[in-house]
């Protein structure tokens, strides 16, 4: 155990455990098909596929018999999947429906089938207590599939504990240093921000008044207001939904046209949609998308924005990987906290509460050390 864990006053765990009673994205809707695929979520290897009726299924990716990966098998019949090794067939509930070379079925032959919900262009899976798998608990990411928003995204396989991604997104002052060529500007670290929390959400709000638009935002303004020049008011409103979804309301508007008071008509508005699924204690699947509410019909803008954000997030990806390596290479050093970490610290507290409620706080933290 490292000093970081023993310091009772600080709960800044370097490797954060993940709650199990939560919906995590297992994949984009288009990734899950009739051909089974393997993905590990929250340390649990899953075989994902669709039934003939198109229903997404998540089974443990280990056959009951000899633990061969079902994801290497093939789908069969209405909703089944056949083990690639000795041919046991399971249905979507994980029940064996046929056993090789015998006329009956061993009643204990099952593999776990995890609750699945398809929503907001994602397939979500629940790995904890199935009796609590309430679809209403899927995070609100409605911009993903609302007719009022357009956009697209990608997946980053990040080589770091998922909490490092959450930290990264809860504090955008890093943009000034990591993303200096696209969205960074010095006003970011100079401007004030307000943190609030309520229930299972944390919000960080930052306004920058009467500033120059950085390159990324200037281009967006010109997409909506051709030839735009001049100062802007810029906002970032970061909302975290426990345990691992962060939607960021971002945009700029012509300076002084009333955006802070609620009139955004003279600006451009985007939502950076992020939801992170722990893979192992030191890796995660980071699903992101950039949605906008102007020029909805332009596939060109959709592609340009996706590629632009791809470049920006590539810079984060590198930093996060390097950070995780440095953490692991320095097990005897702790994290210290700055005022700018307030949002991230609230995130940690909400996650820790979930872990405590699951009775997994000690083990979840120790597992990562």
């Amino acid at each position: 155990m490292t000093a970081a864990v023993q310091t009772a006053s600080s709960t800044t765990h370097k490797v954060m455990g993940h709650p199990l009673n939560a919906w995590y994205v297992a994949g984009w809707d288009h990734e899950v098909t009739r051909k089974p695929m393997a993905r590990r979520i929250a340390n649990r290897p899953l075989a994902l596929y669709r039934t003939e009726d198109g229903k997404a299924v998540a089974l443990a990716d280990a056959c009951w018999h000899r633990l061969a990966p079902l994801s290497m098998g093939k789908t069969m019949g209405k909703d089944g999947i056949q083990c690639p090794y000795h041919g046991i067939v399971y249905n979507s509930a994980g029940r064996c429906v046929s056993m090789p070379a015998q006329e009956t079925i061993n009643p204990s032959a099952t593999v776990p089938s995890f609750p699945v919900v398809e929503r907001h262009r994602y397939v979500w899976v629940w790995l904890g207590d199935p009796t609590r798998a309430d679809p209403d608990l899927v995070p609100d990411m409605h911009q993903m599939d609302s007719p009022e928003w357009a956009g697209d995204g990608e997946t980053i396989h990040a080589d770091c504990n998922y909490q490092l991604v959450l930290d990264n997104l809860m504090d955008l002052t890093h943009e000034e240093f990591v993303h200096s060529s696209s969205i960074g500007q010095e006003e970011l670290s100079e401007s004030d921000f307000v943190v609030s929390h309520e229930g299972n959400t944390v919000t960080v709000t930052r306004w920058m008044h009467n500033i120059d638009a950085p390159p990324f935002w200037l281009k967006n303004m010109r997409d909506k207001f051709p030839g735009f020049e001049g100062k802007v008011d810029r906002w970032q409103i970061i909302t975290f939904q426990a345990p691992s979804t962060i939607c960021i309301d971002v945009g700029v508007a012509k300076a002084g046209t009333g955006a802070p008071e609620g009139d955004r008509s003279q600006g451009v508005n985007g939502f950076v949609m992020n939801t992170i699924s722990p893979e192992t204690d030191r890796s995660c699947h980071y699903f992101w998308a950039f949605m906008r509410n102007y020029r909805l019909d332009s596939q060109l803008i959709t592609t340009q924005l996706r590629d632009g954000v791809h470049g920006v997030f590539g810079e984060d990806e590198e930093m996060l990987k390097a950070q995780q390596q440095a953490i692991d290479a320095n097990p005897d050093y702790e994290f210290y906290n700055l005022n700018i970490d307030a949002g991230g610290m609230w995130v940690r507290r909400l996650i820790e509460r979930m872990l405590v409620a699951e009775g997994r706080m000690a083990s979840a933290v120790q597992a990562g050390i």
């Binding site: 280990a62 249905n91 029940r95 064996c96 429906v97 079925i105 099952t110 776990p112 009796t131």
Partner: protein, 337 residues
């Protein structure tokens, strides 16, 4: 589910014992390493029988406070080898070795409709399932059958918890369960979970197959010791190995063969896996198949048997009424792998 069946052994202290029906005792344990028990879970524990250590399984009736208190309920088995008798000697303060909860009978949440069928002591496996189904507001029905009311544990409590969703059948009140009617109430989306005597479960399986309901929706757990016939003493021979052994009423054929020096293969020892299969060469009497490994066709053919649970009985015709224990013993001649 391999992953959830890693055996973690621990000490447990008996904190309460109480009779809950004729011959059935509720035993509450406080395990050293608590873990919440899912519905359908059981624990294995070490019993002492005539100075020897042995192992028995008991379903978890209640798992309170994150598994800090586990309640079992044990029926004193009629011709017991001693496991359940040992359990009935336990008193508050005693300690024993138990596993953390093991799971071979998982409840799936999300089916359209459920029937839970409990026969006799099999109710122990169904109580926690019913509780969870109620909590998730599932469409469920619990059917509880027994010989007589005073031998049926937890009747009042179940009535209180489940009201009209509980349906009770009592043999000596002439309200015996009609398996045909029960299964007629199931449709393609119904999952039926059952635990009870093998005859009851056989009858349900047959009705289920006849109605062509999905086999995967019929879920059951065997407690691994009830048969169609009362156990009789019988003789088993393996000519190739020159073995002849007498299988006493309270012993299994597998145990008798092991003691006689045969090198036997097995796994579950409760009639599910088929690894203890022996080939029947000749038979004076009939076979009381107590396994769930063979299909009805295979059991009928009587060419093989699962020697961990199945027995030979003296019935010329195979009909139960033709069993004549006094005329015995039945003799089964076999070969082994």
């Amino acid at each position: 589910m391999a992953a959830t069946n890693v055996e973690v052994w621990q000490h447990a202290t008996v904190v309460d014992v109480q009779d809950v029906a004729a011959g059935i005792r509720r035993i509450v344990l406080e395990p050293a390493l608590p873990k919440t028990a899912e519905p359908g879970a059981h624990i294995d524990l070490k019993v002492r029988i005539a100075g020897q250590e042995d192992r028995r399984s008991y379903s978890i009736v209640d798992s309170a406070d994150g598994g800090r208190r586990l309640a079992l309920s044990v029926l004193k088995a009629p011709a017991s080898r001693g496991g359940s008798e040992f359990m009935h000697t336990l008193a508050a303060g005693d300690t024993l070795e138990v596993t953390q909860p093991l799971q071979n009978f998982p409840l799936r949440v999300g089916a359209e409709q459920y029937i839970l069928l409990a026969g006799g002591i099999g109710v122990t496996a169904m109580i926690n399932m019913a509780r969870v189904l109620k909590a998730v507001k599932a469409d469920y029905r619990m059917v509880y059958a027994g010989r007589s009311r005073d031998a049926m544990a937890y009747l009042d409590r179940l009535r209180e918890e489940h009201g009209d969703r509980l349906q009770v059948h009592v043999d000596d009140e002439a309200t015996s369960l009609q398996v045909g009617e029960l299964v007629a109430g199931a449709d393609m989306d119904t999952e039926l979970y059952m635990c009870g005597p093998i005859r009851l479960m056989d009858a349900v399986r047959r009705a289920w197959t006849e109605r062509e309901l999905p086999v995967a929706n019929l879920r059951y757990e065997t407690f691994g010791n009830s048969g169609w016939y009362d156990p009789e003493e019988f003789v088993v021979r393996i000519p190739r190995l020159g073995i002849e052994a007498t299988v006493g009423q309270g012993r299994s054929m597998l145990e008798a063969l092991e003691e006689a020096g045969a090198d036997m293969m097995f796994d579950c020892r409760k009639g599910e896996c088929g690894l203890c299969e022996v080939r029947v060469l000749a038979l004076a009497g009939a076979i009381d198949h107590r396994d769930v490994f063979y299909s009805e066709r295979q059991q009928h053919a009587a060419e093989k048997m699962c020697c961990c649970v199945s027995r030979a009985v003296t019935s010329g015709t195979g009909a139960q009424s033709d069993a004549v224990p006094g005329r015995g013993p039945a003799v089964v001649t076999i070969d082994v792998s």
